[in-house]
Amino acid sequence: MGALTPLVLEAVRFGYGSERVLDGLSLRVEAGEGVALLGANGAGKTTLTRLAMALRHPQQGRVVTCGRLTAGKKPEDFADVAGYLFQNPEAQLFARTVRAEVAFGPERMGWHPPRVMEAVDRVLGELGLASDAARHPYDLPGPTRRLVALAAALVGSPRLLILDEPTAGLDRGARVRVAEVVLALRAQGAAVLAVTHDLGFAAEVLDRAVVLEGKRVTRDAPLSDLLGHHPDFPAPPLLDLARRLGLEGVRPAIGTLAPLLTSPPETGTLQA
């Protein structure tokens, strides 16, 4: 399974009613890739992610998620290989505790209780939620609640992680944790497909930009080629700074830039 391409869309056509949203769209996402799905409102970004999760099925063409053709299959048939963070995480929270909420998915997949426990504890630890494990999700502040939903998408160690606006409404601390977790998942070979307006987050954790326009992919390029070189996609502050300091190619995150910029301003030398 590890060798399978996480996501392949071939000549996909899809519409709601008479309104066509995607037409002749092809896209391939390889293991370990981080793809930012960009484009105007209504360009079909969320629709594309739904096709990947078998929440919708193409009217023409085919979608293969982690080696499985989605045609004739349901989203629950992909729960073991793909994780999906919905734009509105409140749409799924129901359990009495954070732990039970996150354990719901693995339990549905029939994992043995010790394995469930271990996976839940691991992901809660990674997201800094360990101390909230016994609390009710709705007793947590909104941003933390969104992290619970993310934990639920991550707990099954998906080969394909789909994120719809993962940082909307998050505070800075939570954002840093999400970035770290997503990068770690990619390092293990999982592909990440994110719809996001947060270009700073995208620049930190993703490296490929796919722009949707007029029902298909109009641009597919390294993210850094797009940011700051297109009026719709200005360079976020850290990327802007890194470029102007000649640190082209360094991941524009505080964690990676800071060690390169440790010299005190008095000395004026750059230990790059």
Binding site: N41, P141, G142, P143, T144, A168, G169, D171, R172, G173, H197, G200, P234, P237, L238, D240, L241, R244, L245, I254, G255, L257, A258, P259, L261, T262, S263, P264, P265, G268, L270
Partner: protein, 275 residues
């Protein structure tokens, strides 16, 4: 007289043991933009609700201390009373702030003035003006429920602007806005202050503070611990020690071991490191 005077205010939500505000003293002046920031749960949101009188009138719970909003105790005045239409409140999730009965953006913006019984002509003029200021006259006929997050946020702000409030209370009002929307919002806050309104904004996104706010108040554990010019506070260490955050570039500087005062913007950052 200040537009808002909170003196030694304590507040505890019902069903919670820990207080959300403790001995909280805040004064906000008309004609100025006052920015509140702090870690998650530091009390800035609660302070705004107390200022609006919604806590405890709406939330229940226990309040202590003195609060004067536009000279009145807000807990004693329901909205159609003397504070109705004089105080604007904008929260972070625009979808929950729609009236629920408007089929168009124009109706949405007209909701509050109509409730207050304004004459029709004044409502129509006010709506047109508010939509123009927020840059959304083209949305006037759209169904508010189908707007994007950013468009909805602008609509919600227009729906408050139409009242020409004397006091603005904004809690993370730019969460769904892109860079352009944020810039427009910041300019609007300055205009409102220039008109003579008192503007209080609570946000942990401090990247835009220095350009917008006259004053920065940093909350920690339910009370203000720092109060000063944003430019001074954000460059130093105390803001971090209070659990709050400065700008992204200042955060990078701090992580890189740069000593205060630190650069706040990209331009300053380039100067700081490229010297």
């Amino acid at each position: 007289m200040s537009a808002l005077e909170m003196q030694g205010v304590g507040f505890t939500y019902p069903g919670e043991s820990a207080p959300a505000l403790v001995q909280c003293t805040v004064h906000a002046e008309s004609g100025a933009v006052t920015w509140l920031t702090g870690a998650l749960g530091a009390g800035t949101s609660t302070a705004l609700l107390v200022a609006a009188g919604l806590a405890p009138r709406h939330t229940g719970g226990q309040r202590s201390g003195q609060v004067r909003t536009l000279g009145l105790d807000p807990a004693g005045h329901s909205s159609p009373g003397s504070l109705g239409g004089r105080v604007a409140l904008v929260l972070s999730s625009p979808a929950t702030q729609l009236s629920g009965i408007a089929e168009t953006v124009a109706q949405e913006v007209a909701f509050a003035p109509a409730n207050l019984g304004w004459p029709r002509e004044r409502i129509h003029e006010g709506v047109a003006r508010a939509l123009a200021i927020l840059g959304i006259p083209h949305l006037a006929g759209r169904d508010p429920g189908t707007l994007s997050g950013g468009e909805m946020q602008r609509t919600v702000i227009a729906a408050m602007l139409v009242l020409e409030p004397e006091l603005w209370l904004l809690d993370e009002p730019t969460s769904a806005l892109d860079a352009a929307g944020r810039a427009l919002m910041h300019a609007l806050l300055r205009t409102e202050a220039a008109r003579g309104a008192a503007v209080l904004i609570a946000s942990e996104d401090t990247d835009g503070v220095a350009a917008v706010a006259d004053r920065l108040i940093v909350f920690e554990a339910g009370r203000p611990v720092l109060d000063g010019r944003p430019d001074d506070l954000l460059r130093g260490d105390p803001v971090w020690n209070a659990g709050a955050a400065s700008t992204t570039i200042a955060a990078l500087g701090r992580a890189a071991g740069i000593r205060a005062p630190r650069a706040l913007t990209v331009d300053e950052g380039v100067a700081q490191w490229a010297r």
